[in-house]
Symmetry: C2
Subunit: 444 residues, 2 copies
């Protein structure tokens, strides 16, 4: 379907495409709730001061102001802007409502966010994210780092997408290693390593040398670390074989070993240790996650996140957390563009109740009400056109069943796919379970 949105970077779906998106959203919500995560929504706007606290994304931020703002009181830090992720708003929400929340607090949040980026496939200006986080008050057990990887693996496994791979690293491991070889500008090294997939190891080595003053040996060691990628916990031995010693490195190794050991046991084939994972943002302090669709690595990460020692703080109280964010619009765009899945029909309706004549509309409503009372989605024809036209109405929408009522008050229902027609009672007839609601089915 070659349709272009009228505003670049602001995708809108047709009804049958929206059914695929709804299926994705419902599946994520159900998985999150089965794991005890509470739904939270925050307002779409934050103050500019709040949004820019964490750094350098300001070029992409959309400001919001009254169209006719004669009495403009708000300006500068107090002026408003659309949120660009769900982490910053959630941090504010936790601080504001700390007195009303039970910690550790686990929430999911599925909302649109806005970024004034250059649009391309997989990168929109308005898009939906689905986040889960667990936040503690003062402390947060490390086990949540494992649990969140498992919840995400379960959630993604339930979606109509190709195989995926959760790539996990640990900031302590990286920082300790760099320190151990004498490189102390950890953010700088991470920024360079983050470019590995884009520019290749030779250019990363060049960056490390020219921008961070690394020696050839230091650059080589950093690249050796980033080259380690294992399905199980053998990365531990491979790191040790590099001969670097540092207490923080040991702490990171032990943490990542725990995550990989448990996750690769409980979600085999879906999780790897990947010591090149750096994550752009500064606030991660331990475990970091990225996720790719196998065979679609160029799409970028479909789900990322990590552990942060202080998501937020309030006086001398800090709230450490761990969380992941799924790029729902990126996933849905790819599902649709690659036909990974499709809805079985365009509309919720399972049954169209036809009209034999115009006076029968009210009786047809009775039939519809009886069917709906048993949870069957029904439409009633609006006018008594020829039956052929009424059937065509259903056919064009993929509605599987049409209902006929005779003058003697008996009823028949026809499956317009098979042409089969049989007597039916409004108080008991039920469609096959797979026809009741539109299904979203994997294709190919």
């Amino acid at each position: 379907m070659a349709r272009k949105s009228s505003l670049s970077g602001f995708p809108e779906w047709l009804p049958q495409e929206r059914l695929v998106e709804l299926h994705v959203l419902d599946t994520l919500r159900r998985t999150f709730e089965l794991h005890g995560f509470s739904s939270v929504e925050t307002r779409a706007v934050e103050t500019v001061g709040q949004l820019l606290r964490k750094g350098e994304i300001d070029k992409e931020v959309y400001a919001v102001s009254r169209l006719q703002d004669e009495d403009t009181g708000a300006a500068g830090d107090d002026s408003l802007a659309l949120h660009f992720d769900l982490t910053v708003p959630f941090a504010r929400y936790v601080v504001e409502n700390a007195g009303y929340l039970a910690f550790p607090f686990r929430r999911y949040q599925i909302q649109k966010v806005w970024r004034g980026e250059r649009p391309q496939e997989g990168r929109a200006r308005e898009f939906t994210q689905a986040d889960i986080d667990v936040v503690g008050d003062g402390a947060l057990p490390f086990r949540y780092d494992i649990e969140l990887a498992l919840v995400i693996a379960e959630a993604l496994s339930a979606l109509p997408i190709p195989a995926f791979q959760l790539r996990i690293n640990n900031r302590k491991l990286a920082e300790g290693f760099y320190r151990g070889i004498g490189l102390t500008d950890t953010p700088g090294v991470l920024r360079s390593i983050d470019k590995l997939e884009k520019i290749g190891p030779a250019k990363v080595a060049e960056l490390l040398k020219t921008e961070l003053g690394a020696t050839a040996e230091q650059a080589e060691a950093a690249l050796s670390l980033a080259g380690i990628r294992t399905e199980g916990t053998s990365f531990v031995d491979r790191v040790r074989a590099l001969g670097v010693e540092d207490p923080l490195l040991e702490e990171g190794l032990a943490e990542l070993e725990q995550v990989i050991a448990e996750a690769s046991k409980r979600a085999p084939g879906k999780v790897i240790a990947d010591l090149s994972i750096a994550r752009g943002l500064d606030y991660y302090t331990g475990t970091v996650y990225e996720t790719v669709l196998v065979g679609h690595e160029a799409l970028g990460s479909i789900c990322s996140g990590g552990r942060y020692d202080a998501l937020a703080s309030k006086g001398n109280r800090t709230f450490p957390g761990v969380g992941l964010s799924i790029g729902v619009t990126r996933l849905v765009t790819r599902i649709l563009s690659q036909d990974f899945a499709a809805a079985s029909r365009q509309v919720p309706t399972a049954v169209l109740v036809t009209l034999a004549n115009d006076d029968s509309w009210s009786a047809a409503q009775d039939v519809a009400a009886a069917l709906r009372g048993r949870g069957i989605p029904v439409e009633v024809a609006a006018t008594a056109e020829k039956f052929g036209k009424q059937i065509k109405f259903a056919d064009r929408r993929g509605i599987p069943f049409v209902w006929f009522t005779s003058e003697d008050g008996t009823h028949e229902v026809k499956d317009i796919r098979s042409g089969e027609q049989s007597a039916a009672d409004p108080s008991s007839w039920t469609p096959p379970v797979e026809d009741r609601w539109p299904a979203v089915l994997p294709q190919g």
Copy 2:
């Protein structure tokens, strides 16, 4: 719960309040889908030109622009603003996608909208609307005017709110009547009549005389019409008794009679003919609807809409429609402030699996996975604290069941409300259906 949002007019709910909102949203969605309405979402922004086409709401519109907009190309009509309702965006969507939609097209749309109004209870700057519309291509059978009233009555009846009353009028009836008595500025008369509830009949008569040049007799006749409010179709005789004749009046009378006759039969006590209903917006051309909560009339309309001959047009093609919009945030705010309903617990979790010691975490995950496999929401404790502390963790959140596994591999489950504890098997134990998910229950 005396909690104030940190930004006036931008409400945010606590997790247990959000459960009430989710219940409202899920209930509306289910009713709409049972009636065959397709879900559509449009982007949050429109061009300013698109938004202001319909008139005078520009003072309330929020403009959107890049925070650092050196290269600002967009300005004036092409610049962006947040949508202030879901009708204008839907009209654009229909025009843009007309080639891909099957008409009559019925859609529901549940999204946030933004208006820079002065906030008060029931009036927020960011709020959620739930709209349903049916749109035809060239023509749209009148029966949809009846059907939409019935769908809305069914949807509102399923919500935890007090009794409501759908008040219905017809623009043709009003316009024909005014013309019949010699008043031709219909929008002007409607604007005056719209103030009836606020300023009373004496002042409305004054307005009609001073601003529209009406005679005392004309003002009296207009007020007599607006005073008619009947549960059945007796309004027809009462209008005729006023002795005004006009073909458009007859057409409107016949239409409203059909709507009231059918709707008061199928939704008794929930629908009245109210000839004072005017609706502010200009584009309605026939049936108009407003809805009040009985005993909460000062809250304003919780659901409004009407029939429009041309929701949108494209060349010489027009798309007539009929639609209604529910003010979800207004309803939820009132439900919460008046304690009409509350969630049975704070979190989705039904069972907390405890840890006897730290090594049992993985086995506890097996128990949790078995329960979740049968659709039971479960959390696993993160650390092996004393059982008392783990039970307190569950208690603080309202989690009804805690699960214990002994060293010999046997299991017990405790209902912490009753204290009752009994043997249980992870592969078969199921909580009572009312405990599986948090319920939203009417209060008082």
